[in-house]
Structures are given as C-alpha cells and as structure tokens.
C-alpha cells in the first residue's frame, strides 16, 4: 500500500537538498533570472497610453463610460468624477488631469452640450481623446449623432500566431519552457542519479518501496516547475490572460517530461555528467518549442505537433495572451498526455529491470 507519509518524507528531503546543491539552484534560478531580465529590458508593446480626464456630469448620463468605450483598446482613459466646473478647472490648471469635460444640464431640445477644459500643451493622447468627446456625449444623451460616419473594415495581413505575442510575453514564455525542461531533464535526473551514485537510493529502498521513491522524486519535479513558473509570473508581473490554462499547461509539460527525466537518471547514474552534458539535449528542445510558435504549416509543423513541448508551448501561449494565438485544444492535451503515459510506462519497465 502506498504511504503518503513516506513519500512526503522523501519529498521534503529532496526539496531541502535542492536548496543546498549549487548546481540545482543555478538550473532553477537561471531561467527565472533571465525572465526577469528580459521583462525589465524589453519594451512592452501592449502598454496603452493613458489620458486622465475629469468629468462633471451632474445628470449622471454616463459620459465617462461612453468616453472609455469610445477609446476602446487604443487609449486607457482614467476618469475622475468631479463635482463642479471650478473643481475641474483647478485639476486642469494643476495638470492633475489632461483635460476636463463639463457636461451642460439636460435640455429638451437641441444638441447635447459640453465644455472641454484643456491645459496648454496637452499630449497627443489627450488630444485624441478630446476628439472622441462629441461622440461620447451624443451617445450618453441618447440622441442621434449629428453626423454619420462610415466604417470600413480593413482585413488584417496574415500573421503567424507567435507574432501575436509581444516580445516580453514571448521571452518570458520561452523562459518558462526553459525552466520546465531544465527541471525535468536536468534537476530531476541529477537528484536521482546522485542517489544511485552515493548509494542512498539503496538506503531509501530499505525503508520505502521503489515506486514511492520515484513518486516523491516526480512530485519534487512538479513542485520545482510550478513554483518556478509562479515566481516568473510574480516577478515579471506579466498579465496572464487565462491562469488556469497557463498553469495547467505548465503542469502538463512538467508531468509529461518528468518520467523521461527519471528514466535518464536511472540509465545514466552520473550526476556530474548529467549536469555537464544534458544541456546539449535540453537546448534543442527549447529550439523546437520556439519553432512551434512561428513555423508555417507543413511537414515540420506536423512533426512538432506530435511532440509534447511544442504543444505545451502553444497552450502556454494561449493562456498567456488575450489573443489566444493558437486556439490549441483537446488535441494538444492528448499529445501531452500520450507522451506522459509513454514516459511513465517506460520508466516502470526500466525501474523493474533495474530492481528499483
């Protein structure tokens, strides 16, 4: 019978040991550090220009709401509701706001009216929002606009899904994948290989069945991965559009790779060699994950679609970006689950042959 107590004891030991092993600390902290570095140095293309507006709307006709709606996703309109014209003027004079809209009291007939108070040298962003005021006012008044406009929809040029990610999102996403691949293909194998090298695995096996030991090692890998991804999101303050999808994809990726990582540690029980040479294996994996974001449909794309890390990368991108660039669905989850199952089945076979 599986004992949660024993698994927990080994898990705690592994977590503590990881904190004391310089190799593992470096592998965990490097992707996090790189993510923070790139996040701090790359421009944020999605950062909206802001216009601060004071609104005097005594009749409560919703001018502020309409102004925000009119600005849409192009300008972030920050509204400060103000009691009267004098207060609004003071704010404009003090440059606490870019401009003020003072809505005239309701009249039965005639157009809706408003006075706009704007400071000297108003920014282009403020000017662009000022241009939206008549339309917002008309909508708030519930009357037909004074002039009709014709809207033409211009078709967007073809963009690869990866292009929908801004540079900060892209680099942080790749650092997340790097972290998860490092954890699964280096940290987890190093920890189990060292146990075999030093003979401590034999000592553990006297007190706990092999599957419990492997389960604890796998859990440690999941924890390193998810905690690292959480830390990346926290430190970069990146807005994750769909956290459930994003963290679910991160978990799926780490879960699908950890079985292979454990297998690597059993087959190659030399922690120093893994630390030195496994990088040659992990870097191409990162390359394939990055390729999945930009590759055109074709044979290569089909091959990538059959691998877990490109699929997980697509899911991570969908979770991260509000544009849901890939619309990856059940197929992606199925590919990852299949690889995970395959990994653990082979691991079980190898562990049995090695009498673990």
């Amino acid at each position: 019978m599986v004992s949660a107590r024993r698994i927990l004891a080994i898990l705690i030991k592994d977590l503590r040991d990881a904190g004391r092993d310089g190799r593992i600390l470096l592998l965990l902290l490097m992707p996090i550090g790189l993510a923070v570095f790139y996040n701090a140095t790359l421009p944020n293309a999605h950062e909206l220009p802001t216009a601060q507006v004071a609104v005097v709307d005594a009749d409560g006709r919703g001018v502020a709401r309409e102004l925000r709606t009119a600005a849409g996703n192009s300008v972030n309109v920050e509204v400060q509701n103000t009691r009267n014209r004098l207060a609004a003027r003071t704010l404009v004079a003090a440059k606490d706001v870019d401009f003020a809209v003072v809505v005239a009291p309701t009249q039965r007939r005639g157009p809706a009216r408003a006075e706009i108070l704007v400071s000297e040298g108003a920014s282009p962003t403020a000017q662009s929002v000022i241009a939206l005021v008549p339309d917002a006012l008309t909508r708030a008044a519930g009357r037909a606009p004074a002039a009709q406009t014709q809207v033409r929809v211009v078709a967007a040029t073809h963009r690869k899904p990866g292009d929908m990610l801004e540079s900060r999102e892209l680099t942080v996403l790749l650092m997340v994948v790097l972290l998860l691949v490092f954890v699964a293909m280096m940290v987890v194998p190093i920890q189990i290989a060292e146990e075999i090298e030093t003979g401590t695995l034999g000592a553990l096996r006297l007190a706990a069945p092999g599957p419990e030991i492997l389960a604890a090692k796998a859990l440690a890998g999941f924890l390193y991965g998810l905690a690292g991804v959480g830390l990346i999101v926290l430190l970069t303050q990146l807005h994750v559009h769909d956290p459930l999808l994003f963290f679910g994809a991160a978990f799926a990726l780490i879960a699908s790779l950890v079985g292979f990582g454990l297998m690597m540690g059993l087959l190659w029980p030399n922690s120093a060699a893994i630390n030195t040479y496994a990088g040659f294996l992990t870097l191409p994996l990162i390359g394939l994950a990055a390729a999945a974001l930009f590759v055109d449909p074709g044979a290569f794309a089909t091959i990538l679609d059959l691998l877990p890390f490109p699929q997980a990368t697509k899911l991570l991108a969908d979770g991260l970006s509000p544009h849901t660039p890939f619309h990856a669905g059940l197929g992606s989850w199925a590919v990852i689950a299949t690889w995970a199952l395959l990994g653990y089945l082979i691991l079980a076979r190898i562990a049995s042959r090695r009498e673990i």
Partner: protein, 302 residues
C-alpha cells in the same frame, strides 16, 4: 561441510537453493543456509564471490533468479513490506546525505519508519554523535560516518541487522566499539548477518561463518570447528629462546621433535606457542587464495 539442519524452523534468515544470475554471469549458485535468532552469522568470500548480492537479495533490493529466501518468516521480495520495518543494513559504502546534517539524515528515516523525530537524537547519542548532530555529514571522518550508518540502522530496532563490511576503513577503537555494539545487539536477540574480509572480525564476533567462493557455499560452521577441520596440517610450535631467537618446529618431523625436547630439557625456552590453523588458513585451503589478495587488488586499483 556440516549442514545447518539442527537450527529451528523459526530461523530469522532462511535461504534455500538460492541462485542469482546477472545476464550470463551466475553470482549465486544454489546457496542454502539458515541463521538462528540472536546469532552473529558471518559470510566470507572474495570480491565478486556473491556476498553483496546475497545481502541485496535478503534486504529485498534484488530478486532471486531461483530458490527461496525467507526473512523473519516472510518470502522476500514478495512479502518485503511485512519485513521492511524489522530489518536494517549497514552498507559497505557510507551512503549518507552529505549536504544534510547528521540529525536530518536520521530524521528522514524516522519519517520513513513512522518514528518520532526525537528518536534521531537518541540514536546519535547512542553512537556518540550527539554533540555533532547539527553538523553537515560532509565534514565527518570515516569513523563518524560509519557510526552514523550504524545509528541509522538501529533506528527501527531491527530484528535482523545486515552488516556489509562494517569495519572497512575504521580505526581500531571504532572497530572495537562496533564489535561491542554488535555483540550487545545479538545478546538482546537481534540476529546479525555480516559479510567481511576481516578474518579477525569473523573469528572474534561470529558464532558461525560461511565461506562463499564463486557463488557457491564451500563451508559453513563455527570458526573453531572450521579450524579443527584442517587436519591435514602437521602440528607446529613457535618457540622464543632465552637469547631472543625464534624458531618454528614441526612436531611430525623427528629432528624438530628431538630439538624441542632438548630445548625443554635445557630450559632455554622463554615462550612457546602452538601454531593452530587460523580461519584464514581454512579459507585459503577451501578457496585457493587469501582474502588479503582482494585487499592487495583493491590497493593496486588505487
């Protein structure tokens, strides 16, 4: 070879016709033996004779190719779970967590055995490591590591304790301490199953020893009976004369026997020792070479 059939059926360790193959290599070949409760049982053999394989099988870390192994009445490895908490092992390598403290090392195993964490400190005190409980193991000497291994092996108060080369690398004092601990454990009812290269360990500690050569059991008896079994050797004495000279005299040779009689008559002998066969002599006789040869090979490899 004397059979061990007189031993109770409640033997803590029972091995019947045990065979273990690693590919084409036969590590153990039809080995059968039993131990008695509270017995100190020694297994001797060259490197590669199959000693460690046998310990691995008895502790459930390797599966027999054929044959039957029972520990405390349970089939191993099939019922390993039933005996896991009742056996323990001091391995031939210091398999401890170097980056952890001595206390953390033992607390891990307290967690695995479901024991209170306070047991860790008690065990460290027992092996005189209480004062260094919070020190990282990587700073420990060989003797301290060996004591830590012993403390870990005693955590769960095992009914059967396996010791794989327990005195390797130990200084004489640490080796003597280990002998005392092992003797006390056996007196308390713990069955000790040890493998060793050290004939003195085997002779001093073990109630019975088994010789393993190329996977086969070639002898199993008490050390005294094994030594007495070497009857083809002529009685021999070593004498030290009053002028300090030493001489070895074989009593089956008439000139040596006459010389001894003359020395006795002339009262020229300061001391005289009979040279009985040692356990090492018995081993060389049965296995063809000394266990010391293994040590020389190990040294050459370094």
């Amino acid at each position: 070879m004397r059979a061990a059939s007189a031993i109770s059926t409640r033997s803590p360790v029972e091995i019947e016709d045990l065979t273990k193959d690693y590919g084409d290599v036969r590590a153990l070949d039809g080995v059968s033996l039993q131990t008695a409760p509270g017995e100190i049982f020694g297994l001797l053999g060259h490197n590669g004779a199959g000693k460690s394989t046998m310990i691995r099988i008895l502790t459930g870390r390797a599966k027999p190719t054929s044959g039957r192994v029972r520990v405390l009445g349970h089939d191993v490895p099939r019922d390993l779970q039933a005996v896991r908490g009742q056996i323990n092992l001091v391995a031939d390598t210091p398999n401890v967590y170097e980056r952890a403290t001595a206390k953390e090392n033992l607390e891990l195993f307290c967690g695995l055995y479901g024991l209170p964490r306070s047991r860790a400190l008690e065990a460290l005190e027992h092996v005189r490591l209480g004062s260094v409980a919070e020190r990282k193991v990587k700073t420990f000497s060989t003797g301290m590591r060996q004591r830590l291994l012993l403390a870990r092996a005693l955590l769960n108060s095992p009914r059967v304790l396996f010791l794989d080369e327990p005195t390797r690398g130990l200084d004489p004092r640490s080796a003597r301490d280990l002998h005392q601990t092992v003797t006390a454990l056996a007196a308390g009812g713990t069955t000790i199953f040890l493998t060793t290269h050290n004939m003195n360990d085997a002779d001093e500690l073990c109630q019975r020893v088994a010789f393993l050569a190329e996977g086969r059991l070639v002898a199993l008896d008490t050390p005294r009976a094994l030594k007495l079994s070497l009857t083809n050797r002529a009685p021999e004495v070593e004498v030290v004369l009053d002028d300090g000279t030493q001489a070895r005299l074989k009593l089956d040779k008439p000139p040596d026997a006459a010389a001894l009689q003359e020395l006795i008559a002339a009262s020229r002998i300061r001391s005289m020792h009979s040279l009985e066969p040692t356990l090492a002599d018995v081993f060389i006789h049965l296995a063809g070479r000394s266990l010391e040869d293994d040590r020389a090979e190990e040294t050459d490899q370094w």
